[in-house]
Amino acid sequence: MSDSPVLVHHGEVEIAHEHPHLPYQRHHFETMAQQNDATNFAMWLFLLTEIMFFGGLFTAYLIYRNWYYPAFVAGSHQLNVIWGGINTLVLITSSFTMAMGVWCAETRRQSQLVLCLVLTFILGLGFLGIKTIEYKEKIEKHHVPGFHYSLQSFLNPDSDKEAKAAGDKPMALDMARHTEVYFSLYFAMTGMHALHMIIGIGILGFMILRARAGGYTTGHITFVENFGLYWHFVDIVWIFLFPLLYLISRHAQ
């Protein structure tokens, strides 16, 4: 959805217009307001489809957490709340820098806009970096579902640092096996979230190049605005994922 300008109607038939055409107005819109309205509305609709996409995963989570609550608690004890917390902060900060970026574009501050986008870019990469550290821990402990999955931490919690620290009791084999469902959902949900981050970071890279060339400080900021919406959405998904996956049992009894 780049906003390549179409200057006036090209063609034999020149059409009388009440409104003058700005360079970034697409030919099929009557007014700039209509164009901005339509693209913003489209972005909100797209986010609605994204909600439905993640909705399938949240449904699965809801069902299995109800069925296998002890396994989900034991599984969540294996996650690193510190890293997860830091990542939450990183992501919220990146949402802040993104919001500032939209403001800079609105007020036509080109260098600050580039700075904000670069900061968002770096924070996004930082999030993925920390996620990689966390994934590495899981791989080393054989907590990735599949052929190599190990139940050691749940059958014999004393042998496992995290499980011991959380005071887990040994689980029956039947329930312990269901931790694999927990980790299935953990990887599917955080993986899908990370995929959205990667796509977002790619678009950010493209936007930084355009912003340096003065692309978004001409008064036409729909693209920055809509990307901001996407970025905040991905942020919000994480705001839900963090407590659901990391903090299952960490509330006052």
Binding site: A42, F46, G55, A71, P145, G146, H178, F187, A188
Partner: protein, 555 residues
């Protein structure tokens, strides 16, 4: 056939195709492949969808040939499984879902609303490319060994037990799903934000209402299918356990996620078809559609109820008796808005000046066959009878009556109805009436015996069957041959008419929609001046007034 006709063509000796139109504005392959014009994208879709329809149709022909004899003799049984799977995948995801919306909807919604284009032309083009990518991937999987899970990708069969191209087929469907999401999103934005001055919600043609309802389903339903496919893919590749009972997952959850999309998907398929029927029935009865508001809201009601009936596909899968009861009741409810439409169309015919041009013949075909298909759906929504009928040919006949008898008839009605608008030329009337009749006869001969086969207990999805079922199967295969002829004919004479058809003029049917008030084929910009909608939809008196004004000012 009646000699009465509403067709009014310009004097053929002087008439010309408009010098400038969207077809000849620019030339060359690239001008088509990089176009942002909704009308050109619609043509691209029409060509590609026809291509996939004939591939799916050829597979259907193979199925019918195999079932001509009780033994599995034409192909091995596992080949048969692959053939019916690919028939389902191609027909559903690459023909039925995009058929009317992506071709006629794309072409007509901006024209009907008095807009210059869809709100997001580049997204529109992207959606065609995604469709093609998905389609080519599906063909690739078919050539490199196929897939044999059935189009439903049922777990744990698809995740654990088959060794065919589940992943690539899943990817094809996933990609095509995004194409459908983008089309629906584009329609919703366009209908909300791009209406011409005076075009209020209740002045929109019912075609647009139907597409609005279908778009809601596309936008909300398709992402759930996407995530279900992603989870199947993850389960097949790295072995996560969300649907795997040995790890504590539940295969039934897959069914819920899958049917949460795939039941609304049948309304994605049928609603745009109903939109076509609303237009044709009004034009060829010369009357405003009876109960406009009721028909408009029934589309929305179908979309809403359509989201709460999915578990009726799962009555034999082990859901509880209580959910069976609830879903059975909700399924009965969704029949109500469909019936509202059928009754209102019937009342539109009442005391109308009916003429029998080809689109109207297809429309009558739709009304009869869709009603039979819909009513047998009530049998299947009743959990008691469903348990006996669901794995038999009864259900095959049911959904083919709705989808082929309903949707395909509506698609052909729409293609014939708007052909003059799309190409500027009329199709040949007599032979196309013949094609409509042949299709109707062939269809009934193919699928009616399957209702009987189903009630007699012939199970679906098998390459062989007990010999006592052969006679009805022979009827069905013979009917399929006639049906094939019925579908080939339009391809031939429509192609012929591109060069030799009579010049159609702006409004050959004397119809009221805004799309008929501009030249055929339209300009790239659709209208010379943005139209102002100062009358209700289907207002034939307004049309007469317009004509009189023209006569007064010209003559």
């Amino acid at each position: 056939m009646s000699t009465d006709t509403i067709v009014s063509l310009p004097d053929q000796s002087t008439a010309r195709i408009p010098k400038v139109n969207f077809l000849n504005k620019e030339n060359g392959l690239l001008s088509w492949l990089l176009t942002g014009d909704h009308k050109r994208i619609a043509i691209l879709y029409l060509i590609s969808i026809t291509f996939f329809f004939f591939i799916g149709g050829a597979l259907a022909g193979l199925i019918r040939l195999e079932l001509l004899t009780p033994q599995s003799d034409l192909m091995a049984t596992d080949t048969y499984n692959k053939v019916f799977t690919m028939h389902g995948v191609i027909m559903i995801f690459f023909f039925l879902v995009p058929s009317v919306p992506a071709t006629l909807g794309n072409f007509l919604i901006p024209l009907m609303l008095g807009a210059k284009d869809l709100a997001l032309p580049k997204v529109n083009l992207l959606s065609w490319y995604l469709y093609m990518a998905g389609g080519i991937l599906a063909l690739y999987t078919m050539i490199t060994g196929g897939v044999d899970t059935g189009w439903t990708f049922t777990t744990p069969l698809s995740t654990h037990y088959v060794n065919t191209n589940v992943l690539t087929t899943g990817l094809a469907v996933f990609v095509a799903g995004f194409s459908s999401i983008f089309t629906g999103l584009n329609f919703i934005v366009t209908i909300h934000k791009m209406r011409a001055p005076g075009m209020t919600w209740f002045r929109m043609p019912l075609f647009v209402w139907a597409h609005y309802a279908a778009s809601i389903l596309m936008v909300l339903g398709t992402p759930v299918l996407a995530i279900a496919i992603v989870l199947v893919a993850l389960e097949r590749t790295i072995g996560i356990g969300v649907f795997d009972p040995t790890k504590g997952g539940d295969p039934l959850l897959f069914q819920h996620l899958f049917w949460f999309y795939s039941h609304p998907a049948v309304y994605i398929m049928i609603l745009p078809g109903m939109g076509v029927i609303s237009e044709t029935i009004s034009t060829f009865s010369r009357k405003r559609v009876f109960g406009y508001t009721a028909v408009a809201f029934s589309s929305v009601a179908i979309a809403v109820f359509g989201f709460f009936v999915w578990a009726h596909h799962m009555f034999i899968m082990g859901i509880s008796n209580y959910s069976m009861l609830v879903f059975s009741l909700l399924t009965m409810l969704v029949a109500v808005p469909s019936a509202i439409k059928i009754f209102n169309w019937a009342f539109t015919l009442y005391k109308g000046s009916i003429t029998f041009e080809t689109p109207m013949l297809y429309t009558f075909g739709f009304m009869g066959l869709f009603t039979i298909g819909g009513l047998t759906g009530v049998f299947l929504g009743t959990s008691g009878t469903d348990i006996h009928l669901t794995e038999t040919y009864f259900i095959v006949a049911h959904f083919h009556f709705v989808m082929v008898g309903g949707m395909l008839m509506a698609f052909l009605a729409g293609i014939h109805f708007w052909w003059p608008k799309m190409t500027g030329r009329m199709y040949p009337e007599k032979i196309s009436q013949l094609a409509a009749v042949v299709t109707f006869i062939g269809f009934n001969l193919t699928f009616f015996p399957q209702f009987i086969l189903g009630t007699l207990g012939m199970p679906r999805r098998y390459a062989s069957y007990p010999p006592e079922f052969q006679i009805l199967n022979v009827f069905s295969t013979a009917g399929a041959t006639i049906l094939g002829v019925g579908y080939l004919l339009p391809v031939l004479y429509l192609t012929w008419s591109l060069k030799y058809g009579a010049i159609a003029g702006n409004n050959p049917w004397q119809a009221t929609g805004l799309e008929w008030q501009t030249q055929s084929p339209p300009l790239t910009e659709n209208f010379l001046v943005t139209p102002i909608m100062d009358h209700e939809a289907y207002d034939y008196e307004w049309l007469d007034g317009q004509k009189q004004k023209e006569v007064a000012s010209v003559g």
